[in-house]
Subunit: 259 residues, 2 copies
């Protein structure tokens, strides 16, 4: 079996924003589905893992796009495992145009936990290290975007507090990884999206939140000298739930005017 | 060309609620996509209509389900036009299990408007009444659920007010039809969904709302004698945006326990 899978994705009309480009959360959802299917085909899907009381936990995700796919396009999501360490795997993605050129790339980090103890497992020994058979080197398949950054929160400002509801939670009763992306992007005004697109989005998941938890969103400029890069920390009762960086870039007035 | 189309749908993991069943809003999205594709194949898609400055506007949607599809299932959505009047079409849907039996049915009502004047058009004369070629009689294809109900708001209680953001709006800058469904279901507590499933959901769209509009949600029992049926009115600054009815029913403890 090839180590890299490619999945076709159709950009549905209700999955695009007011500029006609796919919502980043929806794109993230497509990436996570591609990850799940790639794992499943190799015996490492959460269905198979459940039987031995293990499951994957998404730790970090970063997505960097030169342009966003638009409504009615048939794009492709390519995914592969770049590396495995004792407690984490690094899974990468490419998002391709219909002609095969890259719209952008993504990187993700996953841990494996024991569902009974909730403790991390040693990926190098689980199933006799079978996962090492699926590693693709960066020379074989590059992922030309920077790795996950570091967050240094100084005195971020509280900008919104929300209650979480039925639509926010997944089958595990946790706030859905993708919903955080939606809530974070919802912090920015319409004028920002009219003028700019999301160039890079990073998120690090720290603590699970549950339906009914009240989430507070704190924001700061990544650096005082940067106008278009923001760091967001999501907290519940003092605990850090996740941290995120959103980097905007001006839209290209020739190719990327909004609908 | 057959007058009825059937589309396969895979129930994705991030599209299910904490009980493992598809979110009603996601199912609604699949229905609207099926409607769009069925219209498009017959020359009545919004792409084709745009050229003559017309577009479809969803006026009402009701969905009634005996059970909800669950994660990883491959279901089918069947759609057809049951009737055409001067200003509205009635489009129906069946949601089928992998074995072809019905999970449930849905009914929708659509108007055609002129995009320049925003006024409704006469469907019986547009394109020489071509749409009349696609009507399927109830004898040929039944849709065994009640039609759209009537709402009689007495003194409903204000239960929530929300601001609308980037993720709420569609390519037209309107609050997305599906997002209303999410926001309405988010009014109910976790305990309600643990004990009961949504048996029937109705929504009537009245006035467009836009990103930044503040929406207020008012609720009342449909009838004082009914414990599990609720009418919800969504308002912005006094205008009625949409009206909805949600009817819950106890889960079947044999077949429908939550995950």
């Amino acid at each position: 079996m090839d180590k890299i899978d490619t999945f076709p994705i159709y950009v549905e009309p209700f999955h695009v924003d007011f500029t006609g480009h796919i919502f980043l959360g929806i794109l993230g959802n497509h990436l996570l589905n591609a990850a799940g299917n790639h794992s499943h085909r190799r015996g490492w899907g959460i269905g198979e893992l459940n039987e031995s009381h293990h499951t994957w936990v998404l730790s970090r995700l970063c997505i960097e796009m030169e342009e966003m796919p638009h409504q009615y396009e048939c794009i492709q999501v390519k995914t592969w495992v770049e590396g495995v360490m004792k407690l984490f795997t690094q899974r990468n993605f490419a998002v391709l145009r219909p002609d095969g050129s890259a719209y952008g790339y993504a990187r993700s980090v996953w841990a494996m936990i024991d569902t009974a103890t909730r403790k991390p497992c040693d990926l190098l020994t689980l199933y006799d290290g079978d996962i090492l058979n699926y590693i693709v080197s960066p020379e074989e398949q590059p992922c030309p975007i920077e790795g996950h950054g570091r967050f240094r929160f100084r005195e971020p400002s509280l900008v919104r507090t929300i209650d979480t509801h039925y639509s926010d939670v997944d089958i595990n009763g946790h706030i859905n990884s993708i919903k955080y992306i939606e809530h974070i992007l919802d912090l920015f005004p319409r004028t920002r999206f009219e003028r700019q697109r999301i160039h890079r989005f990073e998120i690090a998941y720290k603590t699970e939140a549950y339906m009914g938890d009240r989430l507070s969103f704190y924001i700061q400029p990544t650096d005082e000298s940067l106008q278009d890069s923001f760091d967001i920390e999501v907290r519940k009762e003092g605990d850090v739930v996740c941290q995120s960086r959103v980097i905007f870039r001006d839209r290209n007035p020739q190719t990327d005017v909004h609908a």
